[in-house]
């Protein structure tokens, strides 16, 4: 049996309040009668917006990892640390569980998010119909896990705020922090602009219409 989706039945699920509404017309679905939001069967320009944000995030990912995020000044000499440097510092100072948390949150999660979004975008554009449930689950994992990458930005902020004991010791933020924050913000918006219904549309449209 062909699954009956709202789109095939000429209905729209309101993106804001979830009300199932009849499209005013095929080209302009109109506004939700309950909450007044503009109705859209699928998020407008979902693939283009997501691609643009993913590419922007991927570009920011490079300086985020190459530039230092923290500089520590001890008695006149300054030492700079990148994200990986911070992980190594935590590991060598004996707190390997923390090193692991920061490694996962700051290095693996942002990279994994970018790869997952690219994978979702490519499979949707190729009209893949395999593993729809798993891809939907992957999408929600990306959405859920995104915020945790902000960890390093908070660590740097509170380290900088607290360690201001010049001339003895002071910590300054490095240029990498802002790129890192940009990666997190851009991938979060990218995930939010991707429409998971597109994953399922290929399966619906390849089968003959019985409606």
């Amino acid at each position: 049996m062909t699954p009956t989706t709202a789109a095939r039945a000429g209905l729209v699920s309101c993106g804001t309040c979830g009300l199932l509404a009849q499209q005013a017309s095929g080209v302009a679905p109109g506004h939700c009668p309950r909450c007044g939001a503009r109705l859209a069967s699928r998020r407008r320009g979902s693939l283009e917006t997501t691609w643009a944000l993913v590419i922007a995030a991927a570009i920011c990912y490079i300086p985020a990892n190459l530039l230092p995020v923290l500089g520590t000044t001890t008695l006149g000499s300054t030492e700079y640390d990148t994200i990986m440097g911070g992980v190594v510092f935590l590991y060598t100072s004996g707190s390997w569980p923390l090193a692991l948390i920061v490694l996962i949150a700051s290095v693996m999660v942002p990279l994994g998010k970018l790869l997952a979004l690219v994978y979702l975008l490519i499979t949707v554009q190729r009209g893949s119909i395999a593993g729809n449930r798993e891809r939907t689950r992957l999408y929600h994992l990306v959405e859920f896990i995104g915020r945790w990458s902000m960890l390093d930005v908070f660590v740097d902020t509170f380290t900088v705020a607290l360690v201001q004991l010049s001339p003895l010791m002071s910590v300054q933020p490095g240029a990498g922090v802002v790129f890192f924050a940009a990666v997190v913000v851009l991938t979060m918006i990218a995930a939010a602009s991707f429409d998971p219904r597109l994953i399922w549309d290929a399966a619906t449209t390849t089968e003959p219409d019985i409606a």
Binding site: S13, G18, A21
Partner: protein, 227 residues
């Protein structure tokens, strides 16, 4: 309550499958038949419980933002910081954009989320709720992913352990407040049911509540495309 004892037709937000969801007893969830996404969660007390929790969270939020997070002492020198103090120091050190992101995710988004939720719940206690309740509900939902209290908590802990290598650091009241807030916000989210609020809000189309089971109402045509 409207819709009591009525089945409701919904489209899954993840895969767009149309399905009829029967009236559920409290504490029961309904999942999409095709993709498994949770469609409806019937919460036992969708107004009073999140209302109590959000009042508590708002008070703890004030404490978390005014009390120092932690203090540091090294050979007679002392320092302490608050959440806003952290963002301010980043701004001061030339990282204005990062400071804005930190202030937004650590202070503005949680505060806006809690204030909007509180206003929505207060106004929805006696239906029909005015239309601005829907607008505020939309704001609360937009703020939710950006409110990163639990991430900040972990960040504070990691910073604390990092600095402990260099100096004596002591957790202060603000940090404990952040810890409590980290537990209260998910508790609000799990007891809060946006659908229950939407059912009480006055419809945009006509200034009245809809009749029972009014699904598949027609969308309002765009004024520009209307003949």
């Amino acid at each position: 309550m409207t819709g009591a004892g009525h089945a409701e037709t919904l489209a899954c937000p993840d895969c767009d499958l149309l399905q009829v969801v029967p009236e559920l007893p409290p504490g029961v969830k309904a999942s999409c038949a095709r993709c498994g996404r949770t469609l409806v969660t019937q919460t036992a007390d969708s107004i009073e419980r999140p209302l109590a929790l959000s009042i508590a969270a708002l008070l703890v939020l004030i404490l978390a933002n005014t009390a120092p997070l932690m203090g540091l002492s090294v050979v007679g020198q002392q320092a302490s910081t608050t959440i806003v103090g952290g963002a301010w120091e980043m701004w001061h050190q030339g990282q204005e954009l990062t400071a804005v992101v930190v202030a937004f995710c650590a202070v503005f988004a949680p505060a806006a989320y809690l204030l909007c939720t509180l206003a929505v719940l207060l106004a929805a206690r006696r239906p029909p709720a005015p239309r601005w309740v829907g607008e505020l509900l939309r704001w609360a939902e937009a703020m939710q992913p950006w409110s990163m209290v639990e991430v900040m908590m972990l960040g504070i802990l990691v910073a604390l352990i990092k600095i402990a290598e260099l100096a004596v650091v002591e957790p202060d009241i603000g940090m404990y407040a952040v810890g409590v807030l980290m537990l209260l916000i998910p508790a609000i989210q799990s007891s809060f049911d946006p659908e229950a609020i939407w059912k009480r809000v006055t419809w945009a189309d006509d200034e009245s509540l809809p009749p029972d089971g009014a699904v598949q109402a027609a969308g309002t045509p765009d004024p520009r495309s209307a003949p």
